[in-house]
Assembly symmetry: C2
Homo-oligomer: 215 residues x 2
Amino acid sequence: VNVLIVYAHPEPRSFNGAMRDLAVQTLGELGHQVQVSDLYAMRFNPVAGPGDFRDRADPTHLSILREQRYAAAGPGYAPDIAAEHEKLFWADLIIFQFPLWWRSVPAIMKGYFDRVFTLGLIYGRGSKGLRGKKAMLAYTTGGPVSEDGEQEEIEWLNRQLIPIREGIIQYLGLEELPPYIAFGPAGVDDAKREQYLEAYRNHLIQLTAKQEATR
Amino acid sequence: VNVLIVYAHPEPRSFNGAMRDLAVQTLGELGHQVQVSDLYAMRFNPVAGPGDFRDRADPTHLSILREQRYAAAGPGYAPDIAAEHEKLFWADLIIFQFPLWWRSVPAIMKGYFDRVFTLGLIYGRGSKGLRGKKAMLAYTTGGPVSEDGEQEEIEWLNRQLIPIREGIIQYLGLEELPPYIAFGPAGVDDAKREQYLEAYRNHLIQLTAKQEATR
């Protein structure tokens, strides 16, 4: 299985950083191929704009969708976008890993969606597309589980992420695998963080085992 | 009424640009004070990171929340963030204007949320906060109204934007005013676009009249 981890966190030594390292190690040990798009480390530009395109359908008036479609028809995208397209087409499974900020992904990852998920190539009429691949969210929250309990919390989070889960993952034809959520890792002790990492490790092992079984 | 328009669109000559200009003109004619944070024109940096802070509570390990709280306690924020704080405290009404991209705001505006809505100053224990101010979303969609009709479409959009409406606007103690939505302006003719602008003008007149009446 080829796995692309699209990862966004500003601090390599964070719990998110530990999750990323663990995923790379675990998936590698299982014999999978792994690439990481570490958006902060790459200094990924999240701001969709005129620089996204090698040529312009209309250089005087920027419509992102029109230019995305034009780029797909031949001229192509800026190198940083094209590089991500290559990784996405290579991948069987795409993991989006991030800290939940304002009930969504950090801006640098929102910009990945805005710039890389392009009309005409990744979705839309005549696109090559990502249909049939799998996707998974792996994220950390800021606080502990609420008094309603973990299952309620997971369902609440699933609802908050509908714009991404339905609006992006499903819309692109990706099959969503169960998410991995670490609840408030900044507020728990080291033993609990170790438990979280062990649970993430098991989550990855189980998921990719199922992946292999269904190929 | 002091109005801050936080605006995100890469093309000044777009329909969003026309909406922004119309809002500035209309609100000015009504005697209101208007400031615009034109995020693309300002080349606003949407990527939360170590540069957001004048000093660091822990220079060796970046926790955005810890550093936001530390900055609020004295050292302060980077100049671009501090400038937005000033505008937010000045404003009675904050309009977030944007094209809907992937059922959310463009990354440059998500980064405004991530970097400017800081713990310890804008929300959280001991914060000065924005409580009692008003906020409004003004946005364009990519396509026409679905067959279910406009009211269904508005309700669907309201649900998609819950992470922003509840998770940010309500959470910050802002009172949300009815949104203005222009449905697929890129796909309609000039006469329809003029209608949209006239409707936006009336929307702004009515809202701010109510504002004045309740002061």
